[in-house]
Symmetry: C7
């Protein structure tokens, strides 16, 4: 380790083991910066993202604290990591989406947007001008052909569609939770998808939520639009979960 | 700490812990440079900023010492930190506001201006050409739809609306003071808002003021304009506070 | 070694022994990044690539995990290494292929594409602006004159046509396997070629596959097009291999 | 100190304490370079600058040694620090003044010129291309609305109007001298202002002057123009001071 | 040596002894990279290059492994060194040849091409942007006036016409072999020239060849064109050599 | 000193004491490079420069060794320091003079030219692209209004008119010599001025000259032109000096 | 020395003693690179350069080894140093000569060409982009007014006309030889000039030459053209020298 520590001062050189340290540190920065955990899940005709809404300071206007962003009417993103970097990525996504629609005359498919963001992230690992962005993007959107979809883009430039995935502080625990249910998830109804995501988040954090303590956003069906659930809707789901648990 | 100290000589590389040291040092520079404390508060239809007017030198023309700046008729800012950096940020805010109005035909909303300044700050943490600005911006302005609003932008590129917030040397103490009253603040009248802000500043600094020792600026109501209170107005509020205390 | 370690912090300077360290580290990164092994083989009128489809996470949509990419109707590539770098290379290959066809009015021959990618890789070892890409490209395509062909391009800028070749974690073992059969390979039918490639992969990994655990793509004949085999087709070949083994 | 000394080799990075060392060294360079002291004072309708005219070498043509520069008919500046840097700043001031008048059709107000120079100085503390200029500017000029005014700009990008101020080797002593009289200074007549400035300089330097040993320049009244006093005028003031002292 | 080792990290600075280390390392890289040896020889009306065709891997398509490149109908080159650098140099040679013919209306003479490549190599030893290319070029071509000619260009930017020369691993031994025969070589017929080159290569490598183990290329007479000998032709020469030896 | 030595490797950063080391080293280089001493003197209506003509090598064509350069018909310069840097400065002076005349329609006054050269020198102490020029310029010329004038420009960007000055190896001694006579110099006739300059040079060097061992150039009167004295003229002055001494 | 060694890693910074190390190393490189010695001499109406023609390798085509280059019909140059740098300088000289003639309509005088090359060399000692060229140019040419002339340009940017001069390994010895004869040289006829140059070279190298072991080039008379002497002509001179010695 001591020898290698010299290789991590430059953005784009390999260590003798072929590692790119600055890229790895960006992952660490992305997962530790906010301390939040995010869950994304795809049911039979639903894609949903759930994350904590942890207002660090009671003085902050609570509904301004959000990691869920609208990109196009049919695509949204849950961005975890350094929040300023997240905003920068979201801004770029909106630009790329608008640019695509302007050029080609139809809305950008979620997978194309994810690929584009991943390609841009790769550049920051190869050329020395800019550090990688410390943020992980979990994109949910409606593909015109295949319906709701969940994609994850990370600072190394990976992008992959998922049945369910997680990011942030408790990424590993949430992934384990979801893996056990992976078979069933694909056939989940809207309600089951949303509730499983919420239950998963609660389980890894070891706590119950109230409606204003989490953010839930989703797309539903091929005609659906990306929207955030209201506090009331979330409360309903929480109640249903509680009822299930009691039952 | 000793090992890590090498990561802080470059503006935009991560340490192995995923930290950006130059960004953190910019916060320190921003809060320690002037030694002042600033308070921003939003009442029911008022947004107010209060700060000390500490003239370091009796030879300085006293009313030239100000950390409160006019951006548009409806937006003002209290900038704390290195004063030259503050001027640079204020200049940019004025340009961005004018540019927005020119492009879109209506005045820039305070939140849009805050977002823009935050995005610009983020760039200085990612690319290596310029150090981050050592200044914290507390923007007060009138949003056409939601009325008076308080926003804070910091060197890392965060921006958030607040019910009340503080910056500078005694930021933590002032925040504690405000947090205890957060419930009531939202319903404060103009007078209550201004006076609470003043009382808060006096409390954390452990001192009484005279009218020329603090700066108070505010927007009031949806039609209000950003303006600084005159020394007489401030004296009136100080007297009222004193009367309250005596009562 | 200790003395030399200083020469490897810059992308494009020689060590006293005339070595380019960053280029060598790129090879290490390319072979260790994904942990996969890829095989490419050319029979009498067939060129085939085979690799593992190792889905690292059961939550990932399985068919999104692929290292085989379509470049033109007649050219495909198996890219192993850092996946983001692979995408970057694939993107460039598609651009170069389209650009060639636009300029010269006929499809780019596989060897010309390989040469172009190798020349671009060489630049990253000579000038200091960008690190080499950590990826090895195994191109299969149909040459209008000589029929199916297999070419390999590496981070140092080498490109060579092969009768059979391998890349990734078990490159050496696979190469040994193929070398023993090199005489016979040239006369293989389509089926023999595909099955030998699969057997080779199984042999070096010491494991049996199911149809969804490997990727197989090929071109066949002068009129053939690059296509990936379906899971069913792969199963058929696996069964045939099993039958052979039993026989 | 030893640890921190590494942060001062780059023009624009923060030390862990949030300090910008090169900027601080520029102050030191500005105050120690020439060894001179300058005084600026604003009376009721007069602004005056006084400094030593120390000809380092009897062979130099004496009246070529001057730190007082004409910028526009109504604005002048006393620049102390590295003399070549002072010339560079003066050149820029003249350009900025001409440019302003060309663009807006009226003469640049002194405060606007001071702000512009401060903004330019700030850039040299933020971007790495140029070191800060080692010079302090004390601007005296006539504002069309408020009359004679004194402003000081330093290498950090601060600019402030003063009732009286000093710069250079004995800055602190001179400031103390002026602070004691600050109340009275505002009501001084032209003669009182000029003489107080001269007395102050003599006091901190512990010496008497002759008419050719100091430079005095002033603006007087709203219609006044910036001009340097002749040796005879200075002698007259010196005599008057001597008479007062004797009386 | 230890002191001096610091001078070799930059592409274009002198050591105190006036040496350019990176240039010297490029020579080492050029001669050690491929491990091959090349011979070039000029007879009375023939210029020939001979080198080993060492296929490092039985899986490589053997005739793709070549260090001999066609530049124009009348000029060819044997490039030894890092193969990717060789390709880069060959590409440039083709471009320079085409550019010359386009500009001046007649084919580039071999010496002009050699001079141009040497000048380009010199730039890489003087300016810091690119490392020198690790390759040695042995150009054979027909000069319209003087007939067949052999030229060598090295990474330092030297270029010289030779009666006979060598490059690569056994350069010194081959040079010694040729020097002993230098008087006679000038009068050699085509057959003698080719065979002497082959014998020289065999002698320094201490081994016999088969027709597919060496590459032979030549130009013959003023009207001749650059061409590679076929395997059959090479075999014929090898047989003739064997007969001579037996005789 | 040891600590500080790190600050002198960059062209434009301050040491903690506010010093610019590279600028100081440039002075040392300027005064030690040629080992010569130059004298410039202004009499009542004469300006003269005198320096040694030390031909380092008897093989050099003697009259090619000169440090006196013609800039315009009315301006000349004695440049001491690294001779290549001197040529570079002279070239620039000629360009600036021509450019001025082209732009404004009258010949550049000597003081304007000196100021321009000083400003250009200042840039080399502030921005990092070029080292300061190691040369000191002593300009003699005719000002249309004030007549003959002597100005000195140094690597730091200072420029000053002098009654008499010196540069180079014995600068200090020559300055002392001239200071003693400073009162009288102003009233010197042409002959007195020239001879005093020669005597001064001889005195500090402790040697007698012959006509070809020194260079003398002058301007005389308002209509005068810059010209170098011939060997004969110099001899005459030397004889007159000798006669004076004998008398 | 040890302390100073840090100043020599950058092309254009001064050491504390005001030295430019890279420039000094360039001199060393120029004189040691080729190991040759060159002599240039100017007689009454002749300018001649003489140098060794040392063919390092018997395989090199002997008449390709030359350090004498034609620039214009009336100007030639003997360039000693790193041969690739020499070619680069020669190329530039040809360009400058052609450019001059194109711009001004008459051939470039030798002194103007020398000055231009010296100015270009100076740039490489001041700005950091390129190392100085390791070559010394001895220019011989015909000046339309003064006839044949000899000029020397070195890596520091000096250029001077000489009656006779030398460069390379034995520069000092040759200079001593010529200095003893400097008086007589100026009146030498063509034959005397050529022979003295040859004798000088032979004397410092302690060896006799044959006609093909030295290069001799000259210009003769105001109408003369630069030309290299043939081997026969050189032999004649050598014989004459031998006869003289015998006599």
């Amino acid at each position: 380790m001591s020898r290698d520590s010299n290789y991590d001062h430059h953005i784009s050189i390999f260590s003798p083991q072929g590692r790119l340290y600055q890229m790895e540190y960006a992952f660490k920065a992305a997962s530790s910066a906010s301390g939040l955990t995010g869950i994304a899940l795809r049911g039979s005709d639903t894609a949903v993202v759930v994350t904590q809404r942890k207002v660090p300071d009671r003085l902050i206007v609570p509904d301004s604290v959000s990691h869920v962003f609208n990109i196009t009417p049919k695509i949204g993103v849950l961005a975890t990591g350094m929040i300023a970097d997240c905003h920068s990525a979201v801004q770029r996504m909106r630009y790329e989406a608008a640019d695509f629609e302007f050029k080609y005359g139809y809305a950008i498919p979620p997978a194309v947007l994810a690929k584009r963001m991943a390609d841009l992230a790769q550049v920051n690992t190869q050329s020395a001008s800019m550090r990688p962005l410390a943020c992980v993007l979990m994109i949910v959107g409606v593909d015109e052909e295949t319906g709701p979809t969940v994609l994850k883009v990370d600072p190394a430039g990976h992008y992959l569609p998922f049945k369910g995935t997680a990011s942030g502080a408790k990424e590993q625990e949430a992934t384990n939770f979801l893996e056990k249910r992976v078979e069933r998830i694909e056939n989940y109804t809207f309600e089951e998808t949303v509730r499983t995501a919420i239950v998963c988040l609660g389980s890894v954090l070891g706590s119950d939520f109230r409606g204003n303590e989490i953010e839930v956003a989703c797309v539903q069906g091929k005609e659906g639009r990306f929207r955030c659930l209201t506090e009331e809707e979330i409360e309903e789901h929480l109640n249903a979960i509680a009822d299930d648990a009691d039952a």
